[in-house]
Amino acid sequence: MSRAIDPKTATNLNSVNLQQVYEELTQTLTLPSSPSTTLLEIEILKEFHFPPGQTILKDNNFIAISKLALVQSFLFARPRLRAYQTDPSLFSSDDISSATFTILLFDPEHLTAANTRKRLLQSELQRQNSDHRTVLEQEKRTVDSLLTSRLHRHTKSPVLWSHRRWLITQYAKYGLSVEVTGDIERIVCVAGERHPRNYYAWCHARFLVNISNNNFNRGKLLEIVQTWCVQNHTDISGWSFLSFLLGRDKDAPEVIAKVLDLVESLRLSNESVWVFLPTLAAAGVMTEEAYSRFLKIQKELLEMETTAVADKAVLRRAVEWCETYRSPSADRLKAYRLLQPDTNQEFNRCQKRGE
């Protein structure tokens, strides 16, 4: 949706109904209490989608908000946050939680709103008898709702992904487990579909793997990611994350063989696939057998009339590049030892820093 505001909306931005709209919005955006994993599905729509006089629609966890309602709510929330910064006693933490959520819904890059939420959470977590898991789960569902909804800017927002990263460090700090595979499947993959080539979403996936202390089902994760990549085969970020996983996994040859099968049968000749495969070869992750298949498939695709001209150039470049940069499998461990961080390092660092 464009950031521009049309004249009709602009004239409706008067102070009379700001508080009313804000209160209706914040009440509507309350997370359902059960089942406890349900996220909100939020959409921002143009005015003509709504019945006359209505600006917010709700159907269980599906919520549609008009752009007008969002702008009005923001204009009410913003000075509330400013006032709170000057005098925290003016508002309860629930008040500020609503205000900051509204601000982030309007502007996902509003760092100060996100940091205010972190400060509120920190106070809550440090209270005696605080139920850490409940507090953290609630916030995770809130940010996950923003990251997986059909909100173009939110799904890729570095501020929101960083907020989630900090939340997960709090799980580690309070000795709570994180579902790595589940989070990647339900949050990263979904955000990755909502916003293709979602750089920060897939960075977050790497963070989850690194912080996990190897405590997750690698086979299952590889299967989920490999399937996602083939279904979203023009998405370089997915393929790049698959490379990241394969570089540290003894089952890499099996997965690569499966991927090559699918590339051949689906006749995938697009650039992302043919950057992913050569990069694996350069990383020394491809066996000789796999490399021979790679060359064979490239030749088949080149010879097909249905392969686009641009893709043929990509295919040729892929093999030429490999001739210079391909690394034999034996070098793999050496190369990766030099370049990859200790998988325990991230986890230990969070524990030590006591963030």
Partner: protein, 328 residues
């Protein structure tokens, strides 16, 4: 080279005065929705606008005294700067503050009216992870090579590089090199043109370009140019004018600018202009903004477009500013 520009139709010239007017008008939109939507990056926006004005030959385009006042009003007690008054301090806005003050030659006012260079240096240096060498953006710990580059950029301008462990940071950047030739936010991350710029520029500032596989990187970067002449940031992404900076400056730093077709890129950038109201957008026909206006202009400057001041490919500041600070 001049022949190419003489052949361009009128609508494909740089609409300099329109762009100047557009940038100058941005600060006056106090009541507009768009102004609120971008408050979280106001200081960055001033840096983008001011740099563009300098390159367009209008360095006095924003009032100097008010600009300095605004920058200093964003400074926190710990020396760091937020994006606007009332916004939390962060590395990115701190770097923009230092870059703006560098351009208007106001480091002395930072001493007399602000919290002083030393405290700014301390704020930045405290964000270094002394174990790994990289930098966080703020106290909440997100690490990204953008922040490492920001630290190198600002601290070198302030003459305070000795406050950080440069060697460790350099090792970290080297560890971010990927097998495809690119660099990412951290070791093992996806290659991305923006991150490539930050890593290459950091190594350039530290005089460690010996660590770069320039051939491999150059190949990856040269593949960013699409049929329409524009550059993208990663494989199969759409062209975007801002990559005229991230990709082009990286190529310039490793001496491989000639690996892309310059004329077609110039043509593409010029088509992204709004020649009437001013400003440049990400691709032809889209809404303009000051970010894309700056990076379209820096791209043209790197390509020696006539009438533009030279931009420094490492600092993304006018070369005249860099010469004044570091000497010729």
């Amino acid at each position: 080279m001049t022949d190419v520009f003489q052949q361009l139709p009128e609508e494909l010239e740089l609409a300099t005065s329109a762009h100047v007017k557009y940038i100058q008008s941005l600060n006056t939109r106090q009541d507009e929705y768009d102004y609120w939507l971008t408050e979280h990056l106001r200081l960055n926006g001033v840096y983008w606008g001011l740099t563009a004005l300098h390159l367009l030959g209008v360095p006095e385009g924003l009032p100097r005294s008010e600009t300095i006042d605004f920058v200093l009003s964003c400074q926190h007690e710990d020396g760091g700067f937020g994006a606007a008054p009332g916004h939390d301090a962060h590395m990115l806005s701190t770097v923009s503050a230092v870059q703006i003050l560098a351009m208007v030659d106001a480091f002395d006012e930072l001493e007399t009216r602000g919290k002083g260079k030393a405290l700014v240096g301390k704020y930045i240096a405290n964000l270094q992870n002394r174990q790994t060498g990289t930098f966080a953006g703020d106290e909440w710990g997100e690490e990204d090579t953008r922040f490492l580059y920001g630290a190198f950029n600002a601290l070198s301008l302030l003459g305070l590089m000795d406050l950080i462990d440069v060697d460790k940071a350099v090792d970290y950047v080297a560890a971010c090199a990927n097998f495809d030739g690119g660099y990412g936010v951290s070791p093992g991350a996806e290659s991305h043109s923006g991150q490539i710029f930050t890593c290459v520029a950091s190594l350039t500032i530290a005089k460690r370009q010996d660590l770069i596989d320039k051939e491999r990187l150059g190949k990856w970067l040269s593949e960013r140019q699409l049929a329409n002449g524009g550059l993208n940031g990663r494989p199969e992404k759409k062209e975007d004018v801002c990559y005229s900076w991230w990709v082009l400056s990286s190529l310039e730093m490793i001496g491989k600018t000639h690996w892309i077709d310059r004329d077609r890129l110039i043509n593409f950038i010029l088509q992204c202009q709004d020649t009437e109201k001013g400003g440049i957008s990400d691709r032809p026909g889209d809404m303009v903004d000051v970010w894309h206006t700056l990076f379209g202009i820096t791209g043209l400057s790197l390509l020696d477009y006539p009438g533009l001041e030279l931009v420094d490919e490492v600092y993304c500041l006018p070369k005249s500013t860099i010469t004044r600070i570091f000497g010729p």
